[in-house]
């Protein structure tokens, strides 16, 4: 349950409205946490209710921007949470299930699907490299920037990993099926 804390982090970095935050979740935040606008609006309401953030205007506004910013209590909560114990997530990917299923009941036309995913990951990698080139030029490397860069590099490495894996997978899938 990190969405509230991802939002607190985003608002600590810079204040913003729900839709603006949704935009950030599609961009720079998206490579380590995803959320739809519905989740974001609901969670922002909860965070305000809890006193971690505040918004303007006060009255209920449907259709008009509502600007949120983090409060001192929100920063305290974030600091508390950062060092809290948690379990590593573990990989969970449909494609792995499919490959293992293919091994059990295949062969099927799985290679086509994999080529599509390969393209998707290559596109994402290019996007991240673009962000890296734009936001992290070599000279500005204070601790704060280095940490944000680190997270982006993890995203890049993650994509590279996928591309390498999918390439290997295509080679194995291309083998003739072993007769039983």
């Amino acid at each position: 349950m990190s969405l509230p804390h991802a939002l607190l982090t985003a608002l600590a970095e810079r204040p913003g409205s729900g839709s603006e935050l949704a935009g950030r979740f599609d961009k720079s935040i998206g490579y380590f946490w995803q959320a739809t606008h519905q989740q974001i609006y609901r969670e922002l309401a909860r965070l305000e209710e809890a006193g971690f953030i505040e918004s303007l205007p006060e009255e209920s506004t449907r259709g008009r921007k509502r600007a949120y910013r983090i409060l001192a209590a929100g920063r305290r909560e974030l600091k508390r949470w950062i060092v809290q114990q948690h379990e590593p997530a573990g990989m969970r990917d449909e494609l792995m299930v499919r490959i293992r299923a293919e091994a059990a009941v295949g062969p099927t036309g799985l290679d086509k699907l994999i080529r599509e995913r390969l393209a998707a990951h290559e596109q994402k990698l290019a996007l991240y490299r673009g962000i890296e080139a734009r936001d992290f030029s070599a000279d500005t490397d204070d601790r704060e920037t280095a940490l944000r860069h680190l997270v982006l590099k993890a995203g890049i490495r993650f994509e590279e990993n996928w591309i390498e894996f999918l390439t290997d997978a295509l080679a194995v899938l291309a083998r003739p099926a072993t007769p039983r």
Copy 2:
């Protein structure tokens, strides 16, 4: 929603009871999909209801083993599903949120947490390498085995990736905080 298909795959590889399947999800299946025994029992009941698997004994048995096996319709469903379009999952990890939060409101004692995770990933890597040495000796490399090996290697690469990243992260966190 891959749990039903992960279960169909597991049962296609080998029949088994709910608890036995839960055991496999803690071991070899666990590096690409996780599930608790509650999820597994619920899903097995649905799969049987749908006619994809069958079980013995017939009568409702609480406390006694119920052996499931996949049916022809289950195999057909699995083949159909394997090649179905789907979106890549995208990384979603709490630790990334924490690092970015640390960049925003830190410094905190995050390095301690990272050292613990490093140990956890090293342990998991050792486990997978053990499975690899035991189940995938170099000589048996038919297509089916190669595919299962591929999935395991992805798990190994995944863990190696984490270890590398966490090591980098410790180096950055050790830097003195930049004064504002």
